[in-house]
Structures are given as structure tokens and as C-alpha cells.
């Protein structure tokens, strides 16, 4: 029998239903695990012990009174520290928000509370969700639970590490260019990036509003599906959200038993197996794809000719949106302010107040992206960079649209290599950006993707990525679940 903190959501839910243990038992097991290992792993920035125990007790009272718990009721989860939880610090892992306390619950947080989930705390990540390693936080470096000398991936580093280290049963992150799938792959767990607009971002500290989406980290695909069903849906507070269409076109995937992938067409894009990719990682992913074939899927070689440009599109559009979104941190209304931090006499003008507060409040990566964004949007350059990138975005999306006429889903590696050593890429931003080369295109095209563990390379976890058309999370889950059950 595994320890309570090691259970999946499904197992914990069964136990709660049968009254084998209480939500308080589950919660205390997670809190004890955090106490035991988090000093080494560094997944959490804030542990909300009192809130968690209070929530757990409410659930326990209901269960005792004979109420059958909902699928997330009493389940301990963690939130990335860019998601607002009322009354609790929300730092975006940045000095500029070091003492900021959230004044309301974001929509996903509210849905989780309404569903009875127990919130254990807020997790570390790359500052403002910019980074691929978890090293860009202003507060600490999160370590990979599989090897403490290595990065957990990023930007949702702490959320991935906390699930991998059994500090919680599930965690939440945001994915703008791979920030859920890539750390899930490097930490050997499941990470889902939903369709753009299928989950509300109200109460998520905005980084790149045309790309950001919230999604779960879980131990199994089934758990990811359960969580997704709770958090998805249209929200009047996020005007980009869309309702899932109930009358989706029939697919070869419909019906049939869960174990078989008979009749499912899986596309394998040749552009995703590149020179310079780690050979062992490639071998594990190829084996994963063979496994899909053994389950009955038809493997189709496809081409996504514009995908090599995905990362370049991303590093124009994303910094452009960052430069606009982060303009709100001005040292005036909230957050770090030079008015308070220096003697009044050293700040003589509003311009100085802005420039000094931002210069001292932001870390290197936000500064780089704000400047790149400012440059590509500035007079004389906007057409050459920003408009050009938007046009290439159309071509990247068309690639996928055409591919999905031939196949039901696409299978690729999540990351070109397993977890690297802490510090290895910190001096070269571009080498860090390349970590997202296989994940960004899903954000560019707005489509859903999942990373599922597919063995190990050099003793470290490898992820298999499954992509599907917009709003076809059902396809992602179906294929990923069949794969997961078979290995």
C-alpha cells in the first residue's frame, strides 16, 4: 500500500469515499512530506497549512454526514505562484511582487475551492513564468526530484517537482510556450496544456495573453482528465474563453474500448526529430510511438514544414505581449516601489520612479523580454518583426490544420533532451529558449497537448507529447490513457 501522499487522485477519491482515511489524513501526509523533503527540492514558496487543514476538515465533516465526495473533494493540490489565491502572497517569483497579497481568487482557484480541493500552497517558478529551468526565480532554485543536481524544467518548476516528489497529489501551472509539458517531461509526470481559451486566465498574472493557458500536473492521464473537467469552461471574466462544443465531429476515435487504439491515425512529424537531439531520448520516444502502433494505431509520417520557425515566431510575439503586460508594474500602485525603498531625494521624477522601480524590481529574464518586446513593437520595426511573426503564425497553424485532415493526433518528443545540470544554460539565454523547441508550436497554433512519461534516458525521465486539434482534449486523453495503461 503506497503512502497517502503517493496516491493518485482516483485512488485517494476511492479511499475517501470508502472512509478508509480522511482528507485531513491525506493533507497531513502531504504536509509531512513537504516538511521532510522541500528544503532540498525547493518546490514551495508558501505553504498554506492552516487553510489546507481547514478545507480538509470541512470536507471530512461532509463525508461523515454521508455526502458522497466529488472527484476533487478533499484532494490536496498546489498552485503556481502566479495564480491568485485570496489573502495569500502571490509573487510571480519576482522581487517586484515580493510582498503582494492577492485580493481575490482567480477563476481556476475559485473552481478548485468550489470543488472542495485542498490548497497546500504556492510553488516556485521562473520569474513571471519566463524560463525553462526554474532557475530564474528571484527567491530560490527548484531541484529535480530525480537528481538534485539537475533542473526540473520550467517555467512551472515547483508545480512539476512537487507532484514528482509526492508533496501533493496534483498541481497547477501555466503554459505559454511549454511551461507545463516540458517540466512534466523532465520530472517524469503528466502535464496537460489545454486548448487556448478553454480554461479561464482570470486571476493568473498575465505574461503573454495570446498564448497563456492554465493546466494541471498529475501522476496519471486519468487524473489530468478529472482535473481538466473541473477547471475548463467559459468565464465572463476572461473574454477569450470558449465553451467546448458538445457536437464535435465524429472521429474514428469514438467508441471502442479504452485499451485499443484501433483505427486511430497518429502523425509523426519528421521535423521533430532533429540533428543534435539526444539519441537516447529519441530512442525512448520512437519506442513510445511503436507502442501506440502495437495498440492498433496507424502511424503516418507527416510534415509540418513551418514548425522550425515556431520558436522564432514565439520569441517575437511573446516578448511583445510581455512588454505590454508588464507595463503595469510601475512602482506606483502596488509591488516594489523606489518611493519606499530609497530615500525620497534619489527619485526626482515620475520617469525615474518607473525606471528605478522596474530596473531594481525585475530580474534579468523579464528585462530581456521587455526590451526585446519593446524593440519589435517600436516604430520602424513592428512590420518587420511583429506583423511578420503574426503572418508566420498563420502558416504554422495551417501546417497543423492540414495535418489534422490526415491524422487524429500527432506524437512527438516533449523535449529534445532530459534534465540538464543546474547552471549549465544560465549564461546563454538562447540555449535556454531552445529547450521549448518541441512545445511552442502548440501554443502558436492554440492546440492542446499532453506530456506523458515514456521511460528514461541516461537514468532521467523522458516525455512523449501528444497533440490534437483545438478543443479535442478528448483525443489527447484517449490516446495518452491507452498508452499509459499499456506500459
Amino acid at each position: 500500500m503506497p503512502k497517502l501522499n503517493e496516491l493518485t487522485i482516483v485512488q485517494a477519491h476511492e479511499g475517501l469515499k470508502k472512509k478508509e482515511f480522511s482528507s485531513e489524513d491525506l493533507t497531513r501526509a502531504c504536509l509531512a512530506r513537504i516538511e521532510e523533503v522541500d528544503e532540498k527540492i525547493g518546490a514551495f514558496l508558501t505553504v498554506t497549512k492552516e487553510l489546507a487543514l481547514e478545507q480538509a476538515c470541512i470536507v471530512d465533516r461532509k463525508i461523515k454526514a454521508g455526502v458522497i465526495p466529488g472527484p476533487l473533494e478533499g484532494i490536496p493540490v498546489a498552485l503556481k505562484d502566479n495564480m491568485l489565491l485570496k489573502g495569500v502572497k502571490c509573487t510571480a517569483s519576482s522581487k517586484i511582487l515580493e510582498n503582494y497579497v492577492a485580493t481575490y481568487d482567480g477563476t481556476v482557484v475559485k473552481k478548485l475551492k468550489d470543488a472542495g480541493a485542498v490548497i497546500l500552497g504556492k510553488t516556485n517558478h521562473d520569474e513571471f513564468a519566463m524560463g525553462s529551468s526554474g532557475e530564474n526565480s528571484a527567491f530560490k532554485i527548484t531541484k529535480n526530484p530525480h537528481d538534485l543536481n539537475r533542473v526540473p524544467g520550467g517555467s512551472s518548476a515547483g508545480s512539476a517537482a512537487s507532484v514528482a516528489a509526492d508533496e501533493c497529489l496534483a498541481a497547477f501551472g501555466s503554459d505559454t510556450g511549454g511551461s507545463i509539458r516540458q517540466p512534466a517531461a523532465l520530472c517524469g509526470i503528466v502535464g496537460l496544456k489545454p486548448t487556448y481559451g478553454s480554461v479561464s486566465r482570470y486571476g493568473l498574472i498575465a505574461m503573454s495573453s495570446g498564448l497563456d493557458v492554465i493546466g494541471p500536473f498529475t501522476k496519471t492521464v486519468e487524473d489530468a482528465q478529472i482535473v481538466y473537467d473541473v477547471i475548463k469552461g467559459k468565464d465572463p471574466f476572461d473574454s477569450t474563453t470558449v465553451e467546448h462544443n458538445a457536437s464535435l465531429p465524429p472521429l474514428t476515435l469514438r467508441g471502442g474500448d479504452v485499451e485499443s487504439l484501433k483505427g486511430v491515425r497518429v502523425g509523426v512529424p519528421k521535423e521533430y526529430f532533429i540533428d543534435g537531439m539526444d539519441k537516447e531520448t529519441e530512442a525512448r520516444v520512437r519506442e513510445g510511438i511503436e507502442q501506440l502502433q502495437k495498440l492498433g494505431a496507424e502511424i503516418v509520417e507527416i510534415s509540418l514544414p513551418y514548425s522550425p520557425y515556431g520558436l522564432a515566431v514565439y520569441y517575437v510575439l511573446q516578448p511583445a505581449e510581455v512588454s505590454a503586460n508588464l507595463a503595469r508594474f510601475d512602482g506606483i500602485r502596488y509591488g516594489y516601489s523606489e518611493l519606499v525603498h530609497s530615500s525620497q531625494s534619489s527619485v526626482h521624477s515620475l520617469f525615474e520612479l518607473y525606471a528605478k522601480s522596474r530596473g531594481n524590481g525585475f530580474g534579468d529574464e523579464p528585462k530581456r523580454r521587455i526590451m526585446i518586446g519593446t524593440y519589435v513593437l517600436s516604430a520602424g520595426y513592428a512590420d518587420a518583426y511583429y506583423k511578420k511573426a503574426q503572418a508566420v503564425r498563420t502558416l504554422v497553424k495551417r501546417d497543423f490544420d492540414e495535418a489534422f485532415l490526415k491524422v487524429d493526433c500527432i506524437a512527438t518528443p516533449t523535449s529534445p533532451n532530459p534534465a540538464w545540470l543546474i547552471g549549465e544554460r544560465m549564461d546563454d539565454p538562447l540555449s535556454m529558449y531552445l529547450a521549448d523547441i518541441f512545445t511552442v508550436s502548440a501554443n502558436i497554433a492554440g492546440i492542446p497537448g499532453i506530456s506523458v512519461p515514456c521511460g528514461k534516458a541516461h537514468g532521467l525521465p523522458v516525455g512523449l507529447q501528444i497533440l490534437a486539434p483545438q478543443m479535442r482534449e478528448d483525443v489527447v486523453f484517449r490516446v495518452a490513457r491507452a498508452y499509459e495503461k499499456s506500459v
Binding site: 485580493t103 487556448y196 477569450t240 522564432a312 520569441y315 512602482g331 519606499v340 521624477s349 525606471a355 519589435v376
Partner: protein, 97 residues
Amino acid sequence: MSLTKEEVLHIAKLARLELKEEEVEKFRTQLSGILDYVGQLSKVDTTGIEPISQITGLQNVVREDIVHVQEAETREAIIEQFPKRKGDLLETLGVFE
């Protein structure tokens, strides 16, 4: 491409970021490298291609113009976050000298 020191300082000014002396050279090199990388987009022929600005195709999403009244507690919590205040008013520097 290679940015000059002056260009970096100009971008930083537009972005309202004060840079330390050592940051200017570091960012000059790093930003030049990133702009070189994204410069590959100029090789793509996009003649007649409509740029995408909303990926799921939403258009003109509107809502009723209704004011949601905040609870006093929320208002208080927001005011609490002001770096500097006089009573319930936000204090900052003047716009005009």
C-alpha cells in the same frame, strides 16, 4: 545583427528600465543574439498571408457595461497594497515638475 550601446539604452528608456553599467554590455550581446535568431523569419515568404491576432477565431466579444460593486473588504485589501498612501489616497510624484 549587432545592437549598439546607444540602441540598448534607447530601448531601455522606451521600456522604462534603468540599467546598470554592466547590464548594458551584457544585454547588448544577449539581445543581439536573440534578434539574430528571430531574424530568420525574414526568410519566410508571407506574401498574401493574413496575420493571426486571435488563434481560436473569436471576434468582437462584448459584454454589458455593468459596474460590479466590490466589497469593502476587497477595496481595503487593494488600498493596503499601495506603496505610499495618505488616508485612502494613493501617493506618488507629480506629473508636472
